[in-house]
Symmetry: C2
Subunit: 495 residues, 2 copies
């Protein structure tokens, strides 16, 4: 009886209502976002089961290696940041600075910073300017100037709710309809393809070179561009993720010049996703803005018309505060009338979270040498940096030991993106389940070990290659060993 | 020489770059959002001038009555909320609860709540579930159940970054192309028309009845609907803002039934923007969910297929924490497959700000009777409520004194939306400046008094009527007198 009732209700709900899968926005339906897809949902179900005391699973913890979410795992927030934020949330604490200092170790620079920020934003509960609070944009401009050695202006900066909303804003303004195209690296972070799907615009893929540490091959990009143009696509922009996601690659000055040459020659807006700019293990991070300004000095005229939007975020790096949704983008070389439209667009959503904006300020303007919070800041910052490097290489070494797995040496970001070569029997078994082979592998991995990674198909990969993306954020080596053991059993089973 | 150089640069920047006003997304260009438009920008410029010591202006402060931004003006945040948030930002304070209690008045319920929330979210710097942290959705479901007397389920709830992003999500999923239409009240909060512009979907306006306290006239809606259908528009949803923005109206049970009848008969998704649900001066707030469930009991069958999305926010009410960007929507009666698409859509932006989510939890689950923080909470909450009522009526009374100004008695929300009748000479003067007459009036008001309000044309109004929207958040009566004095001089000038 109950069954019948439930069935009836379900039928009614699905049949009679206005909206169904076939009449909603088809572009929403078409969008794909694997990072939080089926595997992530299943992993969350396992987590809940374990938390409820379920003993039936063959593992005792879920490892969320599918998403760059540092503080969900082991990473502690940086004390200076959080001390300032706690004062911003409860300014009445500021009225008792003596007690603060003595009881809780709030140094004078923490108190001063909170006061300075509050003097500008009034309250973190008030809307700010739609581009972000003026004082915060001033600090970001100074940070960019110091990083690059070239001027930056607060009026060109747009604070955002994480870099994702910045990307969405930029693509919304740039894409004018179904013929508009944007060059996107493959593999890529699926935000780009998903947003282009939503806008019904064209993703024009260009493959990164796995054998050359996932670098860019400008000649290959030129070919993709020519093909897209021939097919009638109006290619307007190129996305570069540097350091790379999911690849972890850190681009050389020469690779960046190649992209800027192309942008200048082909009139492409450059969208430089630089959220991993402090997650660099080998060499140094070079911003697109810096390289552009250098080239503009070296070859006067040639690069004057390049439009660059460069994004940064509090989510990654040693900050790792993705739950706060803070970030910014800088517009370089944009027509002021277009910038005014960007302003109007962001103003419709009023403003990014103000506490997240304040965190951006703290990230770009941390305690300086000689200031009271500096020593602890430095210790925490370096500890996180060294831990990430250590974990990256531990994972890399584990992959070296695994049959049929090849991985580029860690360079940056928070990810490794190994190639896996699976036996034909495994590929057949996947086909029988109507799944991509890498998805099949990742699902089995999750079921057997509780380790959640994302199949390469979620990011795009060259035909006839298989990958998965894993973060190296999870602490310890136990979970890495779980992968090694699973892999060897999997390979044996399908040999 | 300098002039020439600057001119040349401007020319280069505007002529040679890829993007210009004529080739960006035309739907972004077409979107209008007056709340943060020309007047707001000018008001901000005046504010900066005054802050820099400029004495040339005929006023000594700018009053931002253009936007519901309580904490920018006078409203203090509620202590319980901010105390918990400060502990969430700096959990190390929790390790010293004794000192906390003695030095800073953190009551035990503050400490307990922070611990409970942290046990679920782990860190406010970590991404949460894309629909929002489970514990927070549990609290929201309980709140809705208690408010309405009908069950609510956490899985039907979607935490958002303010109600605006929720509206954007819903309209993105609902609108499937240029023929899709959504019924929107006129006057309306321009988020709706702007988002429909961005989606290249049709706004189907229906006029609210000013003479009936801005109530809804279902017969008029039916006419608008029929006309839109005849013109080929596929009308899919109806937006209701209750209590109203910009009108301040609070809908009766009968008006709500009228809308739900229409939705049931015409298969319209109901988008109930209920962010002002606690800002009600006369009568009581009735949620669309409650009314729907009542009607479903009263007339079995008739309302089973109604889909309702109901929105709430931490930005308004006595909370007033708009800078934190927190909110939620509940989906009622949606096809689970459509809900899955809503989930995927929000997951592309990862999650709403976690500290804002926690604030939603505190809003819906404030200290209860007998708990240590209750007395202060109640005092603060009631103080804000009474202050808003007092200011609303003071402003209303001032409008009564003004020639050619008519205003409905305050009922709710944070706004008054008076009609103004301007002399023909003023209308001509506006025309000469190529401006709508109400825009002309508001601009003169700002220039003369520093009071920034929004012209009725920014919200939509019946042809041949003029209005402006003002919040009643600003403290004191000085600014109200500035309006009265300006108005009388303006009327005399153009008599």
């Amino acid at each position: 009886m109950t069954v019948t009732l439930t069935a009836k209700r379900t039928l009614t709900a699905s049949s009679g209502v206005r909206l169904n899968l076939d009449n909603i926005n088809p572009h929403v339906k078409a969008a794909k976002y694997a990072v939080r897809g089926e595997l992530a949902v299943k992993a969350e179900e396992y987590r809940v089961k374990l938390a409820q005391g379920d003993k039936s699973l063959p593992f005792d913890s879920v490892i969320f290696a599918n998403i760059g979410n540092p503080q969900q795992l082991d990473q502690k927030p940086i004390s200076f940041f959080r001390q300032v934020l706690s004062l911003l949330e409860n300014p009445s604490l500021l009225e008792n600075p003596e007690a603060l200092r003595t009881s809780f170790g709030y140094q004078q620079d923490v108190i001063d910073r909170a006061k300075t920020l509050l003097a500008d934003v009034q309250s973190v509960g008030a809307y700010s300017h739609s581009q972000g609070a003026p004082i915060i944009r001033d600090s970001v401009a100074k940070f960019i100037e110091e990083r690059d050695g070239f001027p930056a202006k607060p009026q060109d900066l747009y604070l955002t709710g994480g870099a994702s909303s910045g990307v969405s804003t930029l693509l919304n303004v740039i894409c004018d309809g179904p013929s508009a195209g944007v060059l996107v690296p493959i593999p890529q972070y699926p935000l780009y393809t998903a947003t282009l799907s939503l806008l019904n615009a064209q993703c024009v893929p260009y493959h990164l070179e796995e054998h050359r540490a996932w670098g860019t091959d400008v000649n290959a990009i030129r070919e993709n561009l020519a093909q897209a143009k021939a097919a009638g696509t109006d290619v307007r922009a190129i996305v570069v993720i540097n350091p790379g996601n999911p690849t972890g690659a850190s681009l050389s000055a020469e690779d960046i010049k190649g992209v800027l040459d192309l942008a200048a020659e082909e009139k492409l807006v450059v969208i430089a996703d630089e959220v991993y700019q402090t997650n660099v293990f080998t060499g140094e991070f070079i911003s697109f803005k810096k390289r552009l300004r250098q080239l503009q000095q070296e070859v006067p005229g040639k690069y004057d018309n390049v439009e660059l939007a460069s994004l940064h975020s509090v989510s990654k790096g040693m900050v790792g505060e993705c739950g706060h949704r803070g970030g910014y983008f800088e517009l370089v070389g944009f027509d002021p009338e277009v910038a005014a439209q960007v302003y109007k667009y962001v103003s419709i959503m009023l403003c990014p979270p103000v506490i997240g904006q304040c965190l951006v300020e703290l990230m770009v303007n941390p305690p300086k040498e000689g200031e009271p919070s500096r020593a602890v800041y430095e210790k925490e910052y370096n500890g996180i940096r060294d831990g990430l490097r250590k974990r990256a290489f531990a994972l890399y070494e584990a992959f070296q030991r695994m049959e049929g797995v090849e991985c580029q040496e860690p360079q940056g970001a928070m990810y490794l993106f190994p190639t896996i070569t699976l036996p034909p029997k495994a590929v057949e078994a996947a086909k029988a389940e109507n799944r991509a082979a890498d998805e099949f592998y990742c699902l089995r991995l999750l079921d057997a070990t509780g380790v959640c990674v994302v199949p390469g198909s979620g990011f795009g990969q060259k035909e006839n290659t298989l990958h998965f993306r894993t973060t190296f954020l999870a602490p310890g080596t136990d979970w890495v060993e779980r992968i090694v053991k699973f892999h060897s059993e999997f390979m044996a089973k399908y040999k």
